[in-house]
């Protein structure tokens, strides 16, 4: 069995106020793959991601993670498998201190206190936030909150990582660190982002969404070379793949994925 694969079939979802946020979305992600989900504001990226660990229930279609359909009775297992970083870190942090927040998930997994402490320490260290351990999360800067939010998910050691805008609000060095961190994973990763350079650098495949539908699902290099597609998706080429505005040279193929 392939624990890390994701299969989404004909997924549709409308919010209670009638907004049709997803309209027949299908895609697959195989074990260890890194997939970017891009698209304009309101395209439905966050809504799609919320389905991947069962926080929203499909109104039509299905979501499978590692061969298990996401349904009410499989939720505990799904949530152990899929770790989710939310778009707004303020939503993710709710315990009195950073360390307790990072330890929240592992404790819910039923780990003994020493194992939890070890996971907390290593997760905080990986995102470079050891020094924040005893601070209350609601008093951190935006980027610090983001780093801690990522640590809360890493501490659960999920098989699949789902991230909504992981790089927004990070300073260049923290963003670099995040890139390195994400590159180092062998989990399946689904990353919704407006940071197209991040997508270009990290993801082998890119899904372009618009109006709740999948506009394209292709290798990242193809997507970012297709100006008509980008235009339709309300996107622009990543900076790293544009020709130089000063000297006019064509881009080096540095933007191609390295995996």
């Amino acid at each position: 069995m392939n624990r890390h694969a994701i299969a989404v079939r004909d997924l549709s979802f409308a919010y209670p106020d009638g907004t049709l946020a997803l309209d027949g979305v299908s895609f697959d992600a195989v074990h260890g793959e890194s997939v970017a989900v891009v698209g304009a504001n309101g395209a439905g990226k966050s809504t799609l991601l919320l389905h991947l660990n069962g926080l929203l229930t499909p109104q039509r279609g299905s979501v499978d993670v590692g061969g298990t359909p996401v349904a009410r009775d499989t939720l505990p297992e799904i949530r152990r498998t899929v770790g989710m970083v939310f778009q707004d870190p303020d939503d993710q942090l709710f315990m009195p201190t950073v360390a307790e927040d990072v330890g929240f998930g592992p404790l819910n997994l039923g780990l003994p206190p020493e194992a939890v402490a070890a996971r907390v320490a290593s997760a905080l260290q990986r995102v470079g936030a050891e020094h924040l351990a005893e601070r209350p999360p609601y008093r951190l800067s935006g980027g610090e909150k983001r780093a801690v939010a990522i640590a809360t998910v890493l501490a659960m050691e999920p098989d699949v990582l789902v991230m909504d805008e992981p790089s927004s609000g990070l300073d260049p060095r923290a963003r670099r660190r995040l890139l390195g961190l994400l590159k180092g994973f062998d989990q399946t990763r689904v990353i919704a982002t407006h940071d197209l350079d991040l997508a270009a650098e990290l993801c082998t495949r890119t899904i372009v969404m618009a109006g709740g539908r999948v506009l394209a699902d292709r290798p990242t290099a193809d997507v970012f070379a297709d100006d008509a597609l980008l235009e339709a998706g309300g996107l622009e080429r990543p900076l790293g793949m544009r020709s130089c505005p000063v000297c006019g040279t064509e881009p080096a193929r540095s933007g191609t994925p390295q995996k």
Binding site: L50, N53, L55, P76, R79, R80, G83, M84, F86, D88, D90, D91, Q92, F94, M95, P96, T97, E100, G103, F104, G105, L107, N108, L109, P113, V116, A117, E134, P136, Y138, R139, T152, V153, M156
Partner: protein, 276 residues
């Protein structure tokens, strides 16, 4: 709005004080919670007209605050912030209870005024003790102690979440007030209709955020109980702390210490006068 901000920053400061490391901070949270509970019961159950008997109780918050390196000015300001509640609660006593029970020189003192002072004093004492408890234990520590003391878990979880929610509400309020100020250019936009709309909007916003936080908790395996891994150790020192203070409170409660002291002094003086 600024009072909300002030309240929040006070809560925040209490929590930061709780991270100090003094002998009082190191006492097991359970010992402090039990002792404070005994304190509150003794203070609250003291007789309605027994003003003098209450005074010795002040020893507890004062000693703990001093030993715990807490800034007395800050605690005093918090007490002042809370005192209007006490005044309101006690306000009617002087009106209803006009029987003269004592004379201060030639000024008649009614039972109403004495019970008024007693209510205010009891309120201040209990609030001071609660503040000192929080500032030496942290809110989370208090919750943890409650859980370990077998207080029903849903209640403790509610308390913890409520505390988090207060900050959420405060932050949303601050952000909205700021957004309004930035675009209302002085006086315009300050009318009541706008405030009404803002209030409605604020409720919806906090509701939406609370819902998203709940989602995030579920995503990390929340099943109705907040688990905290903090090893607690209840040592002999903690036992002495609890029993010592509790015995003192019991003494204050059964013997009117100032009165007894007064009688003793008067007795000694009387004997001296009688023999002299």
């Amino acid at each position: 709005m600024s009072t909300i901000a002030a309240g929040l920053s006070a809560l925040d400061r209490l929590d930061r004080l709780a991270r100090l490391d003094t002998a009082v901070h190191r006492v097991d949270p359970r010992a402090k919670v039990i002792t404070t509970a005994v304190f509150v019961v003794c203070v609250v159950s003291t007789g309605k007209y027994d003003l003098l008997g209450l005074l010795p109780f002040a020893v507890f918050p004062v000693v703990l605050a001093a030993e715990g390196d807490l800034p007395l000015g800050f605690l005093g300001r918090l007490l002042l912030m809370a005192s209007p509640f006490a005044l309101v609660m006690a306000a009617f006593n002087p009106l209803f209870d006009r029987e003269v029970v004592a004379w201060l020189g030639s000024v008649p003192v009614t039972g109403g005024w004495i019970s008024f002072a007693s209510i205010v004093l009891r309120f201040l004492l209990t609030v001071a003790a609660a503040l000192v408890l929080t500032a030496t234990t942290s809110f989370a520590g208090v919750c943890l102690a409650l859980e370990k003391l077998r207080v029903p878990e849903p209640l403790v979880t509610q308390l913890l979440l409520l505390y988090r929610y207060v900050f959420v509400l405060g932050d949303e309020t601050r952000r909205m007030a700021q957004a309004r100020r930035l675009r209302s250019f002085g006086r315009r936009g300050r009318d009541w209709r706008v405030y009404g709309q803002m209030l409605g909007h604020l409720l919806l916003r906090t509701f939406a955020r609370a819902q998203r936080i709940y989602l995030a908790m579920k995503a990390r395996g929340f099943d109705g109980s907040v688990r905290v891994a903090r090893p607690l150790h209840f040592g002999p020192g903690d036992l002495v702390f609890t029993l010592g203070w509790s015995a003192l409170f019991a003494l204050f409660r059964t013997v009117n210490v100032p009165l007894a002291l007064g009688r003793l002094v008067a007795g000694v003086l009387g004997i001296a006068a009688g023999t002299g």
